[in-house]
Amino acid sequence: MYRYDEFDERFVRERVAQFRDQVARRLDGSLSDDEFKPLRLKNGVYLQLHAYMLRIAVPYGTLASRQLRQLALIADRYDRGYGHFTTRQNMQFNWPKLRDVPDILGLLADVEMHCIQTSGNCIRNVTADHFAGVAADELEDPRPTAELIRQWSSLHPEFSYLPRKFKIAVTGAEHDRAAVKVHDIGLRILKHPQTGEIGYEVIVGGGLGRTPLIGKVVRDFLPKDELLAYLEAAMRVYNLEGRRDNKYKARVKILVHEIGVEEFRKRVEEEYAKLNGPSINADPAEVERIAAYFAPPTYEKLPGDSKAYAAQRATNAAFAQWADASVFKHRIPGYAALTISLKTIGEAPGDITSAQMRAVADLAEKYSFDELRVTHMQNVVLPHVKQSDLFAIWNALREAGLAEANVGLVTDIIACPGLDYCALATARSIPIAQAIAKRFQDQQRQRDIGPLGIKISGCINACGHHHVGNIGILGLEKNGVENYQITLGGDATENAAIGDRLGPGIDADEVPDAIERLVDVYLNQRLKDEPFIDTVRRVGVAPFKDAFLAKDSSKTEEAEHAVA
């Protein structure tokens, strides 16, 4: 993975000192509260409901074990012994004090980490496929591109006061695990159909929030070495023309929507044509320098699928079931990419204690070339483990309370922090996730239902990505009570789709029943081995809508049964 050189090191240290000075200037009145707020946000510091919150960048979700150990240390020394992985592959601490943040930033800099641009109206932390460098369907590792953009976007003199936040995601694989179509800019690495040259498909104007939109292709093929100049042109058009009169209409997706993708493309290309590309782009040697850090680790030459692993699976059903849910096929024979579920039934999705961080860091060090990934599903990945080590890892994870066999299943729920922490939230998310997970906790039943993504947001800003959940749940307030809207058919993959609302919102305690009714429709209607989302696509929303709206009649039926 990427390592800082002297320039990166100095840059991050200077940024720490700069923030320390910004805090001091807020305290002596030089900076007004209005002026300080965006400055602290651009360094990941929010003021939440109970306390400040600090969002730490995990660039493209890649972490080394020493970095995770440092996060554990910060959790113990400055927070309450736990952290929370977000849907954009970052980590959040919920209880830091502003007075401690400069020191925390210093500890992060010690392990080549920072909080730069994890919030604010600027280019945010760049995300990428969490199976980068692992997946067999990958054309090129997206992380060198993401790292190049991370550096280029850091403290950008022109693009640090944009109309609104700007999120970029990169994928290099056939299957989109980075949700590139619901980002402000999504980059898909591809081969030119004629020349075979590597470049990018550029997708602009996707996003969730108040106005969910699927991104549109503005460039079919951008040569790889032209990336930064093209991004500069696109960002300049957005910075100049994005709406600033209404913050709900300020994202680039609204600009693209209002002027049309053809007009947007035309304006970007016009600006791009006027730029002096070679004076902006990184030279090939620099791109190579970054790419070299992401060279594959030195794998052992293994004969193929591990016999020991097969034997352990055969004799231990619980292990086999866990492995079925958690193991992703590695491109190297005999290896596996292992997803560790942070969705233990009854716990808050994405939360991890400092002890668990250390346990996972130890496993990464011992079994996975010291490397970890954070997924936008709020889980953690050990990307390169030998199949023959899986049993030992499973045992260690069981000891750490991290062996829930539910990755990709109905209880692997994405949830934002919601009103339990977040100042913007209109309703809680975590207790809804906990209640649904409890309802479906039976292992056999989860496996029978199969892949099903539930995503919960505690407000319209959609940090829980509810629009692209196979089942989406949006928490709102109605007449002074928490109220939940349910959507169906969303998809964050290459088949990106926004879910349809099934009907009026329901109370919190009605949510698990409603989800169960939807799952029952699926179980009744599905063809053999047909996943939930495919059934929804085939049969349409109607039968699900009927079942969703049937809550009162089912209650009546129950009442009648009770009388009978």
Binding site: R10, F11, N121, W152, P157, E158, R236, D283
Partner: protein
């Protein structure tokens, strides 16, 4: 209002006026009047213009050779359009004075210079809290940046390239001396 550049406070030589006849010496006129002023001839006045920040630079470019100063407004520090306007004006050939005027804060000073501004005319209310020492100190915070094609702080990508070239030259000269 105060005026400062990268070396500190500087004297204001321009006066804002609707028309040239309203002032002696250097004048900044509103964008709406600049065409008429130019047609009448600027005479001995150095001419500046206040542009709106939602303008397309294509409207300004035909005039740039005849303008001594362009003042770009920042109605709020969170409105970053002025940075892009400055960068475009510089890249497309404007060589006169570029001024950022309005509610910028010290933390934006380096960005403004990097995008091609020469000077900042901060709002009185901001300058009362953020004196000139803070503006100058803000320029020393970040000494290296990642973006190529911007002014000011040393560029990291080019430094890396220079280091690579120096290393390659060293290897070459070593090889040559072995021959």
């Amino acid at each position: 209002m105060p005026l400062l550049d990268r070396s500190g406070l500087k004297a204001e030589t321009f006066a804002r006026a609707e028309n040239l006849s309203d002032a002696a010496g250097d004048v900044i006129v509103p964008w709406a009047n600049v065409q008429a002023v130019l047609e009448a001839g600027a005479g001995n006045h150095r001419l500046g213009v206040d542009i709106p920040n939602n303008i397309s630079i294509d409207e300004i470019l035909p005039l740039v050779d005849r303008l001594d100063l362009i003042s770009v407004p920042f109605p709020s520090f969170s409105d970053g359009r002025g940075f892009s306007l400055a960068k475009q004006l510089r890249d497309r050939g404007y060589r006169g004075v570029l001024r950022a005027q309005g509610k910028l804060i010290t933390d934006q000073f380096a960005y403004a210079l990097a995008c091609g501004f020469d000077e900042v005319e901060p709002a009185d209310e901001v300058f009362a809290r953020q004196p000139v020492e803070q503006w100058l100190a803000a320029l020393t915070r970040i000494t290296n940046v990642y973006q190529r094609g911007y002014d000011g702080a040393a560029n990291i990508l080019d430094q890396r390239r220079a280091a690579r070239a120096a290393k390659a030259a060293q290897v070459e000269s070593k090889e040559a001396s072995h021959v």
